[in-house]
């Protein structure tokens, strides 16, 4: 298995780090063939497995079958040992290779220059035994570290980390020591761990110099309230009202006390005018709650730009600040609900990728709760330079209109058929009598479904312009997405049998970080394929 030559990998730096005491050979020469983890690794594997099997262990202990526990531990240890024997890693061919698996085998290859982060983790037990876990992360979309070497000797871990960072730095043409990948010790536990000599501090940013801040958008109190009233908080306010209406359950004496004070006959609305008054009052309380909750979270919303960072500050009681480097911003979504469209308002959401390509929590904190539609293009230009103004979007071909209307009508018909069946069944059981003429209701419902289908078609659209792809979808909430083509990771054209019959397809654009996949719905197959070429950067836009 061992290769004689050092391999083509650039790891073999003559001034490189030699991992003394590494099991199965040193790092010298970079290649050196596949190596196993530390001999103690099976113990850590077994502990990991046992951790997942604790309910079983508890059961066995409860039944006082200690011999079974011992047997189980031995089996686990044996299995872990086989796992350890079947797990090797290697620096070869410009990549970190990891081979593992007893029954199912997996070979993973991580190119050095894709490595984003190399972490050395030492838990108390690790420190006691002089070992460490080395975690290597790329910008991959998964949630766990791509490579987890659990465990290697501390020296080996440090040497590996140094080699990986050095190889990456050399490939990126950056002088060693300023590699963008972080290499800090993550020391778990309280005891002060030995700081690695290789730990780096990013010196490229001068933190002391104050940077000029430019405010892009500031929301006044009225706008923040408007955001709550017109947004999803208005629906959420119902959730708050619910518990209040049930307060009488929590305070049994409350309603008696209220009844003694107010005559229920006088309070209960009897005339239409009183009904209207109660309804208006309820609506005011409801909207007030929505506005209040919006004020609490978004009071003094300020979007600003500092250097190459976006900064958002918001909050009444707790002032929150979120910062996002503009380079990490992936996609901007302009959302307009029916109500907000009527009022000339919109909101903006952004999607960003975290340091390691994962979804980023700051993105949700950077959402702009509400803004005038007239300001959308100005803000979009600040978020994605060159993206504004949103161009005129092209409607999909007429086949998409037929499909939208047909789909809407078919769904409405199916729902009505289900309701009709239920009513017929209840009538047959003599629970209630429904006049046959009631079936006439189906006609306006079908007309409505047809209108909605047409509206759904009219709200679809896409456009391409100078490195950007725009896509729009949605009637109740119309979402216009601006995707920088340079941020697309991959793309696909997908079609269902119905779409194929109509000659249509949908384009998906895969973006780093979590969030909905930007899509161009129901375009002609030819257009979707052409857009895929655009996404791949094969043709300019």
């Amino acid at each position: 298995m061992r290769s004689e030559d050092p391999g083509p990998g650039p790891v073999g730096d003559p001034g490189g780090v030699v991992g003394p005491g590494a099991p199965g050979g040193s790092l010298e020469g970079g290649g050196g063939g596949p190596r196993r983890l530390h001999v103690l690794s099976p113990v850590f594997f077994a502990v990991g497995h046992a951790w997942r099997l604790w309910p079983l262990a508890l059961l066995v202990v409860a039944r006082r079958q200690l011999w079974l526990l011992v047997l189980g531990a031995l089996v686990l240890l044996a299995w872990s040992t086989i796992e350890w024997l079947r797990r090797t890693y290697e620096l070869e061919g410009g990549a970190l290779r990891l081979e593992e698996g007893v029954l199912a085998r997996k070979l993973r290859a991580v190119p050095f220059d894709r490595i984003q982060q190399v972490d050395l983790v030492r838990k108390p037990l690790h420190r006691l035994l002089g070992v460490a876990t080395l975690r290597v992360e790329t910008a991959g979309g998964g949630s766990a570290a791509e490579v987890d070497l659990d465990v290697v000797t501390l020296d080996e871990a440090r040497a590996l980390r140094a080699s990986l960072l050095q190889a990456k730095a050399r490939l990126a043409g950056i002088p060693v020591g300023q590699a963008p990948a972080s290499g800090g010790d993550t020391t778990a536990g309280r005891a002060p761990g030995p700081r690695a000599a290789g730990s780096q501090v990013d010196t490229s940013v001068d933190l002391t110099a104050p940077r000029a801040e430019r405010v892009l958008l500031r929301l006044g109190l009225g706008e923040v309230m408007l955001a709550g009233i017109t947004g999803s908080r208005a629906a959420a306010a119902l959730v708050v009202l619910g518990p209040i209406s049930q307060a009488s359950d929590w305070f049994p004496g409350l309603s008696d006390w209220l009844f003694s004070r107010f005559d229920p006959e006088a309070v209960t609305p009897t005339t239409p005018a009183a009904f209207a008054a109660v309804a208006v009052l309820g609506a005011i309380v409801w909207l007030g709650l929505a506005a209040a909750s919006s004020i609490v979270t978004d009071y003094g919303f300020t979007l600003a730009r500092t250097g190459n960072d976006l900064v958002v500050r918001r909050g009444l009681l707790e002032r929150r600040e979120a910062v996002l480097p503009l380079a990490r911003l992936q996609v901007v979504r302009i959302e307009e609900s029916l109500l907000r469209r009527a009022l000339g308002l919109a909101s903006i959401r952004i999607q960003s990728a975290g340091r390691a390509g994962r979804s980023d929590q700051t993105a949700s904190r950077l959402a702009i709760p509400v803004l005038q539609r007239a300001q959308v293009n100005r803000v979009l230009e600040e978020l994605l330079p060159g993206a504004a103004p949103v161009p005129r979007l092209l409607l999909p071909p007429p086949a998409a209109r037929r499909r939208a209307v047909t789909r809407s009508v078919v769904v409405a018909t199916l729902v009505m058929a289900a309701i009709a069946l239920l009513l017929w069944w209840l009538s047959a059981l003599d629970v209630l009598t429904v006049p046959v003429a009631f079936g006439l209701v189906a006609l306006p419902v079908l007309a409505l479904a047809m209108t909605l289908g047409l509206a759904a078609y009219r709200h679809l659209g896409h456009a391409t312009r100078e490195g950007f792809l725009y896509a729009r979808v949605g009637v109740a909430i119309r979402v216009t997405t601006a995707v920088p083509v340079a941020k697309a990771q991959s793309g696909s054209v997908r079609s269902s049998p119905f779409q194929r019959r109509a000659g249509l397809a949908t384009l998906h654009v895969d973006i780093a970080g979590g969030g909905p996949t930007p899509r161009v719905h129901d375009e002609s197959e030819a257009t979707a394929e052409r857009l895929l070429h655009v996404v791949l950067g094969r043709v300019g836009v």
Binding site: K106, A109, G141, G142, Q489, S490, V493, G537
Partner: protein, 166 residues
Amino acid sequence: MTEATESWVAARELDPRVVTVWTLQEAIGYGVLALLALAVDIGARLAGLDVPGPPGLVAGLLAVAGGLAAWWVPRANYRHWRYHVAEDALELRHGVVRRIHSAIPYFRVQHIDVSQGPVERAVGLARLVVHTASAGTDATIPGIAVGDAEGLRRLILARAGDGDAV
């Protein structure tokens, strides 16, 4: 490298042995389901519940339907699978009901896995899984001969180029 480059130029079908792998996997899945149904059926009868139909009816139907599906689905899937190692991107076309044509530019590739389940190991096949920074990327090529998978992995990584690809 040129030799390897040449050999991947045209769109390729999967290795025919993948049909065996898929058939076996589907059959095992439906078999387990049928056995479970049989166990529930027998259990209910032993418990004295009134189960309509002769014993093992549901399990039998499941076994027949599963057998048909295990025969047909892998073959249909195989017929619709093509992958193409194009100049700048890996392109896959697959799907029977929902057709998918996906393309992954090499320079977006973060890392590559070559995986084998027990059945795949027995017949000498592997799955090539290409990861990008997006979790939504659809880039698994099932059913490549192990040697080919290794060659393809090297080819893709060689074309992936430098940088962090985000």
